[in-house]
Subunit: 109 residues, 2 copies
DNA sequence: TAGATATTCAACCAATCAGTTGACTAAGAC
DNA sequence: GTCTTAGTCAACTGATTGGTTGAATATCTA
């Protein structure tokens, strides 16, 4: 079984839209702290704290070059969360749910 | 794009081990509030609050029968979180990461 | 050396969260 | 009717969170 605490901090890190925006940005490639902070209407220190949350969750890695810190997406941990969800997301999908989807078609939230 | 607030409350709901345990239990079938609370070393009111969080996140649904409330897993919302992760979990997986896995083999966290 | 740039750290604040207890509502059992 | 069982609600607590500001630490530039 996957370590519970790992899932705790991973899902908690993913629960914030600012941090998800950062991950989205990083999916296009490395970025510095300032790069990530720029579009965020938030102080640099605030953004820095968000990055630290992502880092502690193992979702990003940091590489220093001089005074700049380059962040990169760490797919491994994301895949762990993905794998956990897989089990439940697949749950009773086929039979009941395909029918359900067919019926509700466009009332999907 | 998926509604940000939906992802917020979904991932936040998933970030707690008590609630994930509840979902695990529900993946085996319907259960009452008491059923879910029993193994949890927590007051019934406490468990009830966790269930409400899951419900508000759309992760479980509730059916009342007399004084008992039966909860069931709602796969739809789980699949939404799963789909969001899919994009990032798949990120640069093949090339670099397969190699990385091969190298680090058993230092995996 | 001095000044600007990139980033973190520490202290603080308001809001939210996970848990508790005690009182309440509603439904079954006797 | 009365007692018990199933569950929620309200009020409270301590811990955590997301944000701020101001100062500190490096590093680059001139």
């Amino acid at each position: 079984m996957v370590d519970q605490e790992t899932l705790d901090i991973t899902f908690a890190a993913l629960a914030d839209p600012t941090r998800r925006a950062m991950l989205a940005r990083l999916s296009e490639g490395e970025a510095t702290v300032s790069d990530l902070a720029k579009p965020l209407s938030m102080s640099l220190a605030g953004a820095s704290k968000h990055i630290q949350v992502l880092e502690r969750a193992g979702l990003v890695s940091r590489r220093r070059d001089g005074r700049q810190h380059f962040l990169a997406l760490e797919a491994r941990r994301l895949r762990k969360a993905h794998a956990w969800l897989q089990h439940y997301a697949a749950f009773w999908t086929q039979a009941l749910d395909a029918l359900e989807d067919a019926l509700k078609e466009d009332t999907h939230d």
